[in-house]
């Protein structure tokens, strides 16, 4: 599943952007070092292949519905982790820009979820050791299936984590996990099975292709550890900077005001995700803003005092409410009017 811009908070989006940018830069350097210029068209065309592969549907046994493969694991096996990560990134860029799958801000999350786990965890830690030198068919199949399952499960957990941390959706963590994990288990099994069959098919048809496609050395533990450390640092840094920014921005301002006034708002959404999140955020103190700044209707400089007692919402004050409603409607009307105007102009032209 793709994360969407609309589900993200800037802090979460930015953090994953930073992590992804770091990973891409690292991969680009790696790929350029071993620059085998044959890989340039290979990566591009394999990226296009992923789309073509998604045109080929299969019936999922027992359900009657149909699906297609995602292709991440296949790319990792064909290209090696760094080149595969770049290819997955490019596939997701195209999806974000053209198919409205995800979005620009969510791109960081999506590349991370769908690229990082298969390429840098599942492939080197599961597929490689299991498949070995690629002579044994059973081991290839087992490796591909296990790696695909684990990669997708991690990706699904990441989606849940990102959504929950962003706090836009009210879906409770557990419910969300329960919905995502079993589905992705099934998807992973199918993905792995198809990946394994395709790899075996290619291996039988043209053994030399796989050998030369994998080409470069399998990643050793060290560079990955380095990459992980670098990413973690980047993420913590951006997360910190972003949340600082966020907390000095308007909503953050309100938040500090509320802090000064006491934490009564905090008590309100005690149940469900917000209680949990709030607690969680207090503990990690990284993304303090978004879970409990409520009330954008409270304009800057507004001085209307809060009424005490939950449920507290700043704009319960009727005057503010009406003004907000009137202003909102006017803006909306303006927007619609503008749209109609352009429409008419085009019709004339």
């Amino acid at each position: 599943m793709h994360m969407a811009d609309a589900l993200l908070s800037p802090a979460v989006g930015g953090t994953f952007w930073a992590a992804t940018v770091g990973a891409i830069a690292w991969c680009a350097k790696k790929v350029q070092q071993e620059l085998n210029d044959r890989k340039v068209p290979l990566m591009g065309v394999l990226g296009a292949f992923v789309f073509a592969a998604q045109m080929i549907n299969f019936t999922i046994p027992g359900t009657g519905s149909s699906g297609h493969i995602g292709g991440g694991m296949l790319l990792a096996i064909l290209l090696g982790p760094q080149a595969a990560f770049l290819t997955i990134a490019s596939v997701l860029v195209v999806q974000a820009l053209f198919f409205a799958d995800g979005g620009l801000l969510a791109l960081g999350c999506n590349i991370f979820n769908l690229g990082f786990f298969p390429c840098f965890l599942a492939y080197p830690l599961l597929y490689k050791p299991l498949a070995g030198n690629g002579q044994n068919h059973r081991r290839i199949a087992a490796g591909a299936i296990l790696a695909a399952v684990v990669g997708l499960q991690l990706g699904a957990v990441a989606v849940v984590a990102e959504t929950v941390l962003s706090g836009i959706s009210a879906l409770p963590l557990q419910t969300f996990l329960w919905a995502m994990l079993p589905i992705h288990l099934a998807i992973g099994l199918v993905e792995g099975a198809v990946t394994a069959t395709v790899v075996l098919f290619v291996r039988q048809a043209r053994p030399e292709i796989l050998d030369c496609a994998i080409g470069g050395q399998p990643p050793t533990a060290r560079p990955i550890a380095k990459l992980l450390a670098g990413l973690a640092a980047a993420a913590v840094f951006t997360g910190g900077v972003l949340s600082w920014f966020a907390s000095t921005f308007p909503d953050g301002l309100e938040w500090s005001i509320e802090q000064v006034r006491g934490k009564k708002e905090l008590a309100a959404p005690a149940e469900g995700i917000h209680g949990m999140l709030a607690g969680f955020q207090e503990k990690i103190a990284l993304l303090p803003d978004y879970a409990f700044t409520i009330g954008e209707q409270k304009a800057i400089g507004e001085t209307v005092a809060h009424r005490a007692g939950p449920p507290a919402w700043p704009a319960v004050d009727a005057g503010t409410s009406v003004a907000g409603l009137v202003g909102g409607s006017l803006t909306l009307l303006l927007t619609l009017g503008l749209a109609l105007l352009f429409r008419k102009r085009r019709a004339i032209a």
């Binding site: 609309a6 296009a48 879906l171």
Partner: protein
């Protein structure tokens, strides 16, 4: 499959739109990318119940789309197509969030509904903004802009090739699939096994093709980098537009326009 196919049709349509001409089209792609990013950050930085604050951004987007002459029906269509996911996730908000947040007389509106509405709104805005970017700039120009903004060249070249061969390979995939469907009666033959072989042969063809492309590139002196002729150049108009628009976006984010407007109007009426 039909959705992917229709996505490809839209893709060609986007390409055609990007070839049109308007003030927005003529802006430097980097400027447009930066503005889009700023727009997105502003929109998602509103808190989860924000509605009125988002409306000026809708106004802005409408203005841009109108100025660039993109058919609004097309944008709406695309946004609606992509909407179900946001709705699905958002629909849980009213279920889990009962916090009463707004009261008009006896009518009490729970936070979940507000946040659902807000989510849908920000969904439309984010999807719409990206669509507007692509439809006024074109994929290749966006890639070039991203490259000049610091995207690694390897990735840029990759995107270029991916986009070029998307059309060729999807066509190939469609033909393969069509040939299989013709011999698959009552859905038999569409199972995982046949699909894997199909994917396998598509993959073989793809690999062969990449070898041929590589040969063709090397025959024309390819050395690992793709040179382009006209590097982008910023002109005064671009810089000015960028400054003004960024300032406007910031202002829209900081000041609650609709509220001020509402105050003003209700103040007049009072």
């Amino acid at each position: 499959m039909s959705t992917i196919e229709s996505a490809f049709i839209d893709l060609q349509r986007l390409d055609r739109l990007a070839a049109c001409d308007s003030a927005v089209h003529r802006l430097d792609p980097r400027v447009k990318v930066l503005i889009t990013l700023a727009f997105l950050v502003c929109v998602v930085s509103f808190d989860k119940y924000a509605i009125a604050g988002l409306l000026p951004f809708a106004l802005f987007l409408t203005l841009v789309i109108g100025l660039s002459g993109i058919p609004s029906g097309f944008v709406l269509n695309r946004v609606l197509l992509a909407a179900p996911l946001a709705l699905l996730i958002g629909l849980f908000n009213p279920v889990y969030d009962h916090q009463p947040l707004m009261r008009f007389g006896t009518l009490v509106i729970a936070g979940g509904w507000l946040s659902l509405l807000s989510l849908v709104l920000r969904f439309c805005l984010t999807v719409g903004a990206v669509l507007a970017l692509i439809a006024t700039t074109g994929f290749n120009a966006v890639c070039r802009a991203l490259e000049q903004l610091g995207m690694p060249t390897v990735l840029a070249v990759q995107l270029l090739l991916l986009y070029r061969y998307l059309f060729v390979l999807v066509e190939e995939g469609l033909r393969l699939n069509r040939a299989r469907v013709l011999r698959s009666f009552q859905g038999r033959g569409l199972g995982i096994r046949a699909c894997s072989f199909l994917l396998g042969s598509l993959l073989l063809r793809t690999l062969d093709r990449s070898q041929r492309i590589h040969l063709a590139m090397r025959c024309r002196g390819f050395d690992g980098t793709i040179h382009t002729r006209n590097p982008l150049r910023l002109n005064g108009r671009d810089v000015l537009t960028l400054t003004i628009v960024l300032a406007a976006l910031l202002a829209m984010r900081v000041f609650d326009g609709p509220m001020l407007l509402g105050r003003f109007v209700t103040g007049l009426m009072a």
